[in-house]
Structure formats: C-alpha cells, structure tokens
Subunit: 166 residues, 3 copies
C-alpha cells in the first residue's frame, strides 16, 4: 500500500480530511504509547503548542496552562517529563472525534473534539480531560506537520504542572 498521499494541490476535500485524520490518529497514539519524542516530530521547525482553558479563551484572557512558543520549548518539555517520570505514571488513552478541515493560507486548519482518559497504577481508568484541538498545518516533505497546536480544555481543574501533553 502506498502510504504517501497525493500532493495537496491536486487533492480535494476528501483527501484533506483523510490526511488530517491520519495526523490526529498519530498524534493521539504517540502520546498514548508514551512516544513523546516521536510526538514532537509531528511539529514543524517553526511551531508552538499551547493549552488554554475554554473559560479563559472565551474571556480573552492571555493566561495559558501550558505554552511552548517554539519547538525547542516543546522538546524541553518532553525532556523534563522524562526526568520527572516517577511522577508521571499514568497511561493515556485519547479518543478523538471526526476532524473539521478548512483551508488556511498555504496550508490547512483542522479541529476535532477529544476525550482523554487516564489509567493509574491502581487500575482505575477515568475521564481526565475533554476539549478541542485547533491545529494549523503545513506541508513538510509530502506530509502534514503542525505549525500551531492550540488545545482548548473544557476545564483546567484537574491539570497539574507536570501533566503530559494533551
């Protein structure tokens, strides 16, 4: 099976939907499999990752729950999590809903609702976070890469300083 998508400039909306869905699947799976370094590879050289609460966003407040405004900060974040992994012993399961895909400049914009469940070492699975991804995507070597990932969480109540990416 040829895994390489057709060039974006000849692809219609169905192809764009499939490419974005594949990226979302990869994004969630790499986090679930604790492949954080591979997860950072989904980001473009010039990129940012931000988590904001729905309430702050609606009020226009600039406060982020997590903000990495360049790729080095994203890598640092993962490095810090590896060093601190004794505190980070849950496992994640992302279940992501259907993608919305629109054109955005030379690239694509995508959004999707997500549910994130965490399981602790005691064997309890529980809802950890729900919200919506908002991605700006660019072309990189025939694949989509994330230029901007904005995660809008429906509540900030359960998030901790050492939380893994959502």
């Amino acid at each position: 099976m040829d895994d390489r998508p057709a060039p974006a400039e000849v692809a219609g909306p169905e192809a764009a939907f499939w490419r974005v869905t594949r990226l979302l699947e990869t994004y969630g799976r790499l986090l679930d499999e604790d492949q954080l370094e591979a997860w950072t590879d989904l980001f473009a050289e010039e990129s940012r990752y931000e988590i904001v609460s729905r309430e702050n966003r609606a009020l226009g407040l600039p406060l982020s729950l997590m903000l990495c405004d360049n790729r080095d900060m994203i890598l640092d974040r993962v490095y810090a999590l590896r060093k601190a992994n004794i505190f980070n012993i849950h496992t994640d399961c992302h279940v992501i809903g259907p993608a919305r895909v629109t054109a955005s400049g030379a690239g694509l914009a995508a959004s999707a609702a997500y549910s994130l469940f965490q399981t602790n070492p005691g064997g309890e699975s529980r809802l950890f976070s729900v919200g919506r991804y908002h991605f700006d995507l660019v072309e990189r070597a025939g694949e989509l890469a994330i230029a901007s990932a904005l995660v809008v969480v429906d509540t900030a109540a359960v998030l901790t300083l050492l939380a893994t990416p959502i």
Copy 2:
C-alpha cells in the same frame, strides 16, 4: 480548497461517508460552541428531532424524552433555552464515533455512536450521556440536511426538562 461536495448521484460510498462525517462533526461542534441557532440550520424545512431512551425504544413505547416534530418546534426549543440560559450553564463536548451510512430512498441514512461530556462552572467534567444518532438526510443546495434526527440515549436517568439538545 473546494468545500462543495460532488453531487451525490455520482459519488460512491466513500464520498457519502465523508459527507456524513462532515455533517456529524458540524452537528456536535455547533452544540459544543453553543451555536444553537446555527445548529437548527442543519435541519431541513420538513424535519423532526426526537430523543428516546434505549429501553423505551426496545419496548416499542411511544414516550419521548424530547420531541420536536417540525422545524418550528426545534427553533422554539432553542429560543426557550436562550431565555432560560441561567439554568443552563454547563459546556458540552461531543465525541462522535465513525459513521454508518446507508442509502435511504432519495437520500442517506446515517448512524453513529456518541459520547457527550459536560463541564460545570465548578470545573468538573463528567460523562453526561452515551447513545446513538440515527439521521435521515436529504440534499439541500448541494449539502446534506437533516430530515429526521432520532437520538437514542442509553439511559434517561440524568436528563432534565431544560436539557440542551444532545
């Protein structure tokens, strides 16, 4: 990116799947964003919206949890929610599973499992409802519109009179 789908009569099952998925995504997103008026625009002029419990449906009981058997009733429902919004201060997050699409007369029938999470002002996100959508869809100006939305909820226990649409 051309956002207009190919005409349904020349489209194969993959195109139908994509169109239905796009409608489901829009349906859930508009509710999550509290864009209730735009949500009503997804319904055809002749349309109905009904919520029934799985148990009642299995028993063949006619009792609905919510029934709007024409479009004006759907609009009225949204109007009532706007007037009563002081009681309706949660936020929704719909995570919808893959669509099943079949032919139905001149249109399409679609179903999909959904999970609906609600977050209250205290910052608690919780599971609110799971179940399945059953839509009858018709063509309207090159897009799919909902002629009938039947929401089968797995339990009616948590629903209240002033509940927002599911």
Copy 3:
C-alpha cells in the same frame, strides 16, 4: 448506492482507511446492539480473539484476560453469554477513534483507540474500559474479515469472567 468496495489491489490508502473504518463501526455497533452472533461473522474462518492488559503486554507476560484462539471458541463464548444472560444485563456503547491502517502481508493491519461505556438497569452510564484494538484483516468475498483481534485494555481491574466482548 453501491455498498461494495472497490477491490483492495487497486485501492489507495484512502480507500483502505474507509474500509477499515466501516469495519470498526460495524464491530462496535453489533456489540452495542447485542447482535453477538452477527459480530462473530466479522471473523474469518481462521481467526482469534484475545484481550490482554496493557501492563501484561508491556511486560511480555503471556496471560490473557480472554483468549479464543480459533473461531469455534469465539462462537462458544457467545453461546455461553446467551445462556448466562441473566448476569449480563448492561448495555454497551463503543465510541471508537480514528483508524490507523498499514499493509500487513496480503492484508491490512489496523488499530484504533476505543472507549466503552456501560449502562446498568438502574440507569447509570459509566466508563467501563478504554484501550486499543489491533486487528489483522484479510479479504473475504470482497469485504474485510478479522483474522486476529487483539484488544489491549488499559486496565484489567473492572473486567469480570462473564464480561461481553470488548
């Protein structure tokens, strides 16, 4: 609408994605509708069904939570559940995330995260299990059939001996 997919050998990755998504949808829906016998028809003549915990899989432990290493065992399992159905009075709702599809020999390999919610007769819906499906798929009469279904559950804590398939 022609429901029969194009032959796999001429189909690209988008068609494979659509076919796998359709199979996942059918898989979850048949379980949710308690159509267990039809669910077994999704399996190829030579097939297996296994549930393992994420922890055991990571540790390389061979212990399964459920193992049917041929199709007769899958049928037996469903027969046993029908005989014991007085103990099995919940309803299921599977919400499955986007599919990952890769080539695997002459067939396809697929995986997807799932969330499974159960509702009991008292009307309480709750999270029952999250994890990931890993399927090996083969062609059978123009459709995909399951040669191997490995369900990796994020926790084994809530599973019981008489659990329905996940």
